[in-house]
Symmetry: C2
Subunit: 436 residues, 2 copies
């Protein structure tokens, strides 16, 4: 009996040409993280539910893949932060602080399936974890990593937006609306979509008084350069201590970001950014492609007071970011911002025309020894079928080796994009020089 081969809804599975692109993006992210000296980490996808869900609740908990195996209550990780917290608490004595780690791995959330939403997706995280304390300068290194990362991924026109949660919290404390903070943030988050008038209307609807609305609107309407915005924030004359501390931190972070050489064209203060509500406590980040805001934030994160409070009494402050690679890839592909060119990992495909394969195989071994990915077409097919394979693979170069080539100790190297054919000596180094 034949069973229809199908993949679960919400689970991405790519064709080879797409997969190659996906792997390239993943590799670029990993290389960037390593360039800044972050350590690799790989934690299990399954954890004890009791451990993984120590903190979770509400929406998150509903989405968890959780099951019983024998006597064990098991859950699949839904992010890479909780496993990091567990790991740092567990291995505290064996780690050097600040502990800088990256992790790139799949996480699982049983969200409603809809276009562009995935139940299994890659997160690419970095975090810097301090022991008891972590200097604010670390909050400024993060945007410099984002900046490198975005350039590495081929983006030029993007904005790294920063804010500080203490500024937001201070504002809400100032107008005595701390308990409505979530609702207020949700409304002001929509300002780009629905406009200022609608925002005012909705704020009033949830019971915010006119003079409080004014304060909020004045605050989020602050415009200008980064320095002008900071100046205007100072001029709001808000006496709330949380606000003042947040503003001080923001000013320092901006100062350091410039020392980290991130140009003012690529970062800005955005006072509407909050990044969820119960986790971040200081600096927060979002990163947008200026011409494709509909993609949403590509790279987000922030500062948190205490990573692992559910697992240890040690105070472990940290700052980190995450890229949701699966969704990003899907969106870039949908918008045709990435091109699936080759369907081959090989740089060169060697097509033997003789029964005896020893010379083609020897050449392939020599090319591989020079770090050139090489495939030999091994199957006994007609020439037409062999070239059809090369065409479908979109392999960059093809080498044909027949009787003539063996007798003259030469090869024909064909650039499959330009069609240009070169006759070269049967020599790996000579071939390498031409294709590099």
């Amino acid at each position: 009996m034949i069973i229809e081969p199908r993949t679960l809804a919400g689970f991405m599975e790519l064709l080879p040409n797409e997969q190659i692109l996906f792997e390239q993006m993943k590799q670029k992210i990993e290389n960037t993280y390593q360039k800044f000296g972050f350590l690799p980490l790989d934690t299990p996808i399954l954890e004890l539910s009791e451990v993984l869900l120590a903190k979770a609740g509400g929406e998150t908990e509903k989405q968890i893949y959780r099951f019983q195996k024998g006597d064990t209550d098991i859950a699949m990780r839904f992010d890479l932060t909780v496993p990091l917290a567990k790991y740092v608490a567990k291995n505290y004595g064996n780690l050097s602080f600040p502990f800088r780690r990256y992790q790139i791995g799949k996480v699982y959330r049983g969200e409603k399936t809809q276009k562009g939403r995935f139940r299994e997706f890659y997160q690419c995280d970095i975090d810097i974890i301090g022991d008891e304390e972590l200097g604010i300068i670390n909050d400024a290194e993060i945007p410099s990593i984002i900046y490198s990362l975005m350039l590495e991924l081929g983006f030029k026109d993007f904005s790294i937006c920063i804010n500080n949660r203490k500024i937001l919290n201070g504002i809400f404390e100032e107008i005595n609306q701390k308990e409505k903070a979530v609702e207020i943030l949700r409304i002001i988050d929509k300002i780009e979509k629905i406009g200022k008038e609608k925002v005012i209307e909705e704020l009033k609807k949830i019971g915010i008084q006119q003079h409080e609305v004014n304060k909020i609107i004045n605050f989020i309407s602050i415009e200008g350069t980064t320095d002008e915005k900071i100046e205007k924030l100072k001029n709001l004359n808000i006496s709330n201590e949380t606000f003042k501390q947040g503003l001080e931190e923001l000013e320092l972070v901006v100062k350091y970001i410039r020392i980290f050489n991130v140009p003012d064209t690529h970062f800005k203060v955005d006072l509407t950014i909050a990044r969820g509500l119960d986790y971040y406590t200081g600096t927060v980040y979002e990163t947008f492609l200026n011409n494709y805001k509909e993609i949403g934030s590509i790279c987000s994160g922030g500062r948190y007071e205490n990573l692992a409070e559910y697992y240890t009494n040690k105070k472990l402050p940290g700052v980190g970011i995450s890229i949701g690679l699966t969704r990003l890839f899907y969106k870039l592909n949908e918008l045709q911002l990435i091109k699936t060119e080759k369907c081959s990992m090989a740089d060169i495909l060697i097509i033997p025309m003789t029964q005896d394969m020893s010379i083609p195989i020897k050449l392939a071994n020599n090319l591989r020894a020079k770090n050139i990915n090489t495939e030999v077409y091994l199957n006994d097919k007609k020439l037409k079928a062999k070239f059809k394979y090369a065409d479908k693979l979109k392999v960059p170069y093809v080498i044909v080796i027949g009787e003539d080539e063996i007798n003259t100790n030469t090869i024909k190297l064909k650039n499959m994009k330009t069609g240009v054919e070169n006759t070269l000596n049967l020599d790996a180094e000579e071939i390498k020089q031409v294709i590099k």
Copy 2:
């Protein structure tokens, strides 16, 4: 309330120094697969149980992590072969054949937990899938990939053992003991441990007649060089067709393996190798470290007649291998055959001694631009704490930048292994030349 941060039994979680090594091994395997032109594939870890378990049964099925989410019966993949079969059947029209793919990913088996056994482990697979047919020469390319792989992983003294299932099956057909094949193989598999006499005894115990036992013993006792073994197999004068076909294939594979330049010192015919019973149909492979046979086979696989018979009517013959990386890493580590040296991904740690970080940060950016992984120690600590961090990380080089260095536009580059200190110009290229 504090919850004890613990990891599920049977799930590997490494410290940074071990993780670095693990990633290096994984990277070497991936690079080798790519060098031979294999395409990357990444399939979901979760699949519909109906699809994933189309074929499974017995032992495998018992070990599966399987659960209900909403109305959906879900299972975690237990290998990378079934997902490959599903993928090829599903995407048949969009693939080029022979389809050469690699996949490196985690798989799940709820085995009994014991030392060195893992419930979550990496498999690193390659397979070559033909459409309707796949030439025997592909069976010979596989050992050449294993050979490259083993050298790349740093192994020198190893044996790639090959056999052909048709030879085994033919022998059992010849003595009319096909239905006892599993038991017989289990017994002869122990010959190295228990010796020939015990094997004879056990064969008789399961009802094999003396003259049949003789045939088996004659067969597995065949010794000599590869060519001598093949000659002796011919001289057994077994008329069974399956046997003859297997022997013919084995002879061809040996011929081609030599064309692929695998030296006779590193491969051999081993007539006792069977690799399970219901999957492989032709050539089979196992790979051993000659001095550490207790590790078991490092890299195993073989030829199968039809990859995806449960999902499609297309006939898809293939040949492939798999490395169980998690277990291999564990064993090599246990035997101290791999050394966990550095605990840092950074090549250089820059330690700033001044309040102003701009010069250290600028240097770090310049070094990264030259592909040197660089970390700046950003935290405001005493010099002693800074050097303690460098020591713990075992970072290869440390650069200290203080007032003096800034004033003279120089830096001190310290090789942390030799202790040698160089005074260099504050110039990334000059530093690169010294450390490379």
